[in-house]
Symmetry: C2
Subunit: 96 residues, 2 copies
């Protein structure tokens, strides 16, 4: 299933900037970056729980936020992109 992950990490201090890099690094392992703080990942339920657990261990619960959106398997018609950088198709084929 396609899981959209969006995050806000408070980067006021060096620790926050480190958390931001760590969150992005984990997400890169599982999916495609489509915007600065937005990843689309093709995950099965076990992978999804694993990634949630890793990200929750990185973020500062009181300062940062993570959102997971479950778009299912039929996500192609559920996404539209406008402007720069056309979206990546999570299974590897570039959308045009």
């Amino acid at each position: 299933m396609l899981v959209l992950i969006t995050y806000d990490v408070n980067t006021e201090d060096a620790a926050g900037r480190k958390r931001l890099r760590q969150v992005a690094k984990q997400c890169v392992n599982y999916g495609q970056r489509v915007q600065n703080s937005v990843f689309e990942c093709l995950l099965d339920p076990a992978q999804c729980r694993m990634l949630q657990s890793k990200l929750c261990a990185i973020i500062a619960q009181e300062k940062d936020s993570l959102r997971f959106y479950y778009l299912g398997n039929h996500y192609q018609t559920k996404i539209e992109h406008f402007g720069a950088k056309s979206g990546y198709e999570p299974e590897g084929v570039l959308l045009v």
Copy 2:
């Protein structure tokens, strides 16, 4: 239907920062800000086209990007939030 809108606006110059403010201002008119550059809006198809048209007129097509995700009417089970600031329920009831 719930429409998730995510955007990346290039804020390297003053014009970009103005576009960012304008995009956020339009989105605020239609929905709830759940993260810095992420809005959840309850829209009918006509409102959705209207908002797309307004946002596309604001952004710099070669520098900024907008993504629309269509989560349908049964979106409550499709969203999970972790960390700071619990999400807003688009129909006005705070999720806990």
